[in-house]
Amino acid sequence: MSDSPQPINLNPDTPTEIAYRARRARRRWCIAALLVLIALYLAWWFLPSVPEEHLEIKSHFAYGSIGSDNPERGLPYWIWKVLPRMFPDYLPNPNEPGYTSFGFLHEPLADRPIGFSKRRVRGVDFVGINCAACHVSDYRESKGALPRIVLGMPAQGLDLQGFFRFLFKCASDGRFTVSAVMAEIDRETQLGTIERLMYKNLIVPGFREGVLSQKQKVAYWDKLPPNGPGRIDTFGPYAALFFNLPPSDSAGAADFPALWNQRPREGMNLHWDGNNDSVFERNYSASFGAGATPTTIDEPRLARVANWVLDAGPPPFPADKLDQKLADRGKPVYAQHCASCHDWKGEYVGKVDPIDKIGTDRNRLDSFSETLQKSMNTIGEGYPWRFTHFKKTNGYANTPLDGLWLKAPYLHNGSVPTLTDLLKPPAQRPKTFHRGYDVYDWENAGFLTNVAEENGRRYPLFDTAAQGNGNGGHAYGTQLPDEDKRALIEYLKTL
């Protein structure tokens, strides 16, 4: 076989044909490469939804998406960015030109405050609020100390309602015109041609329309006392925005809860009134409250957060501020007077105590009506996760006391500033106090309440006489001797 002649190509190409073919091949490669580049570009800019990714779980918790950064209920990034500069007169603190004015926390060099996620949807960036908006806060050891940011802690300084009112004011203002907004955006950035066209023709007019329509739906806010910092009316907006139900007469504002140790909470009655015993449904309903919708909710990214908060816990009370011996003495007092309802192993923990027994303000309880409960269980129709666990209760749930020292002010409506005050008979508890200040009261376990203003930031006066703000009830331990009270407080700090 080795000496068989080489086969002859009887139909070779001419030099011209070879050159033509080579050029065609080159051209095809160029076109293919170009198409791939264009496709990648279009994919990057225009595929339905590309959230900003955060590999590290804590930064995902702080800045990552749960699906509220959608065109329907999220905020167009550049409008959101320029609004504080366009309407500084509507910001509560003229010394703080950005959203920190409302109590959002802004880490140095970060693109945006904690609690805002970002997502590119069909070529336009949107921001939305995530879990961290309401479940991250800070405390300061003293006035001169740097703030310590605590993930999962109730955002006791955040005036979320104030933030929404700010958006309403901006959109209602005559100065909010397409040309004014575009001019402001152009000062900030150089939008791509397509994105700019979208902003000019769709996004800016759409934003105004959307915000004004929401403003109209929550017009009932004006009839109720303002939520103030650290509080939210969880279910009122549900009724108004999701179900178009008539607003409740009750003032449903309650404190943001902490988001720690969710694993042992599974099966407990969650929310202040204990209206749902599924951590999963609680997570999803909170996400909808933040602006996600059943179609936009980012299940895998929400699951990352949900998974992390199963075991993430509060920071311990600083040892140097604690009288350990005193705390040790408080332990049996706790066991005797608190543990059955509030200890992880307590018989009644996670269970609802009737309102008549507990005696605290009933506005929050009443704000969740039976109609609303039935409506809540229609959310997610057609989805495998459809809500089924919402129920109407007649009281408030006994919550575990993990990280209690950072959960001040106390009771569901934040009407009692410190643990010391909580152990006072209701009549002796402070009638008014300033909320939202972040310097810690190491003695009484809570935040200092005597500061009305610092660096232009105002800490509104909380009036326990206003509707929904009542500080009565939960008289447990109020009759203890002072010594026991001090020991109990010291012990509670360690939880």
């Binding site: 001419t14 030099p15 011209t16 050159a19 033509y20 050029r23």
Partner: protein, 504 residues
């Protein structure tokens, strides 16, 4: 330019005075005498056998001009080698076996008192349709850069190849002399091989054949000397040369990605080359001035660009050059075709008749030999003017002679062809030559009142080149060897061969 235009438009001389100038004989330093100042410029026609042997139509073709009173005919593009052809079916002079045909042509032309000068040519990279002999090889050039118009591939010739080609030119001249022809012309213009060496816009060689004017002229000087060595000093040798290359007419220098072309030779370059080629009196005996470093070129043949005809007849080029499809696309789309035509006309400029006369005027004082010039001549007043002014010694004419083969006779009697009979410079002849018989395809020139009448008249004119037909002239001697018995044996022999192959 205004002086030239004034002169060319001059009517201050009577037709008799013009006629006297035009029909004055001329004698070249080689001793060649031509009866008047009118030369048929080189124009080809695909009239011949595919393998380069001349055909009957070529005899008819050339004879019609001699009959029409022309002083001398410069032949078709005659390749000195098959590898240097531009189109198939052009008679070649690559072998001694072509001598008898050219002798026949010479005799028929000379019988009318006209001279016949054979144009020794080589395509170089401007090989429009090289034919099957050249299908699988690229053609030699001074450069390896493809021809920019059609994108025809080429390779830079080695010194050995140069030597071979120089000798092919010399042998071509020898064959022309042996055929009894009156002289030869080197086709050193319009982008063919010799231009490719001469032009600073095309020649990118780093060796002794590239760079300076002297180096670029080395190749053609070697040809001139080789021819002189082969045919002696009394055989007429003239050189067709570009006065100016305008090599950047289609792809201007500023284009990106290396697409731009350099402008090429200036008039000063050309004058220097001419002086070199005179070779101290031992070189060429005349210069034939043209311009434009490609063929075709807006300046040569100067006129229109018939886009519709290009679309019809350019398709044969598609397999030849890697830019042919682009050109075809351009011709095939109205906006691009219109743009191309506008560019073509803009690059040419407003002047057609006498377009190169100023160049001849510039060259003639610097050379000792007569200067001929080409470019649209068809009026006695213009021809006489350029000769009378001393800008040139004679004019060469191609397309106006295709339109009116008896143009010299017309010019004897009047200033030019009658109304409607002039060459319109439409260049349809040029484009049709790619696939059809060479002739005048301008219907407006033909008699008739309907399209059909005019078209029939055109066909009659174009096809007249085939009359008389070959069969009227051929005589066959009996061939005793081709007997029926011999034919019958062959298949049997093949069948009996053990290998199944015919034994030698």
């Amino acid at each position: 330019m205004s002086a030239a235009e004034k002169t060319l438009d001059s009517t201050s001389f009577s037709h008799e005075q013009d006629r006297e100038v035009i029909f004055q004989p001329i004698e070249f330093p080689s001793g060649l005498k031509v009866k008047n100042r009118l030369f048929r410029s080189s124009i080809s026609g695909t009239f011949d056998d595919y393998n380069g042997h001349g055909g009957n139509a070529r005899l008819n073709w050339e004879e019609q001009f001699a009959r029409g009173g022309i002083g001398a005919i410069i032949s078709s593009f005659v390749p000195v080698a098959v590898s240097g052809r531009i189109l198939t079916r052009y008679a070649t002079i690559d072998d001694d076996d072509k001598i008898p045909f050219w002798r026949l042509v010479g005799e028929r032309v000379q019988a009318h008192g006209a001279r016949f000068i054979l144009q020794l040519s080589h395509s170089g990279r401007q090989q429009d349709m090289g034919g099957i002999e050249n299908l699988f090889r690229t053609v030699g050039s001074s450069t390896s850069r493809k021809d920019f118009f059609h994108g025809i591939l080429c390779h830079a010739m080695t010194r050995t190849e140069i030597k071979t080609v120089v000798n092919q030119f010399a042998q071509g001249a020898r064959r022309a002399r042996e055929a009894g022809l009156d002289g030869v012309e080197l086709h050193g213009a319009n982008g063919y091989l010799i231009t490719q060496f001469l032009s600073s816009g095309i020649n990118d060689r780093q060796d002794e054949y590239g760079g300076s004017v002297e180096n670029r002229a080395r190749f053609v000087l070697e040809i001139v000397r080789a021819i002189r060595a082969e045919v002696g000093r009394d055989f007429h040798l003239q050189m067709k040369i570009n006065a100016v290359d305008h090599n950047d007419w289609l792809y201007p220098r500023w284009l990106p990605f290396g697409l731009g072309e350099k402008p090429g030779n200036t008039l000063d370059d050309t004058i220097a080359i001419c002086r070199i080629l005179e070779d101290g009196g031992k070189g060429v005996n005349a210069f034939h001035v043209s311009s434009g470093s490609t063929f075709p070129h807006p300046r040569n043949p100067p006129g229109d660009f018939p886009v519709k005809d290009a679309l019809r007849w350019y398709d044969g080029m598609l397999s030849s050059g890697v830019r042919a499809r682009l050109n075809d696309w351009i011709f095939n789309h109205r906006p691009s075709a219109a743009l191309f035509r506008r560019l073509w006309i803009k690059r040419r400029g407003p002047l057609i008749e006498g377009i190169n006369a100023q160049f001849a005027r510039a060259i003639r004082p610097h050379v000792a030999v007569p200067v001929l010039v080409t470019g649209g001549f068809q009026h006695a007043s213009v021809i006489a003017a350029v000769i009378r002014q001393g800008w040139c010694d004679g004019v060469t004419i191609a397309r106006p002679l295709i339109a009116n083969p008896d143009l010299p006779k017309i010019l004897q009697n009047q200033n030019g062809p009658g109304p409607g009979k002039e060459c319109t410079y439409c260049n349809k002849c040029l484009i049709n030559d790619l696939e059809n018989p060479l002739g005048c395809y301008e219907l407006s020139r033909y008699d008739g009142t309907t399209f059909e009448e005019k078209y029939q008249a055109m066909l009659k004119s174009v096809m007249s080149v085939y009359s008389p037909p070959a069969s009227a002239r051929l005589k066959f001697a009996p061939e005793p060897s081709r007997t029926p018995a011999a034919v019958a044996v062959a298949p049997a022999a093949a069948a009996s061969s053990p290998t199944g192959r015919v034994q030698p």
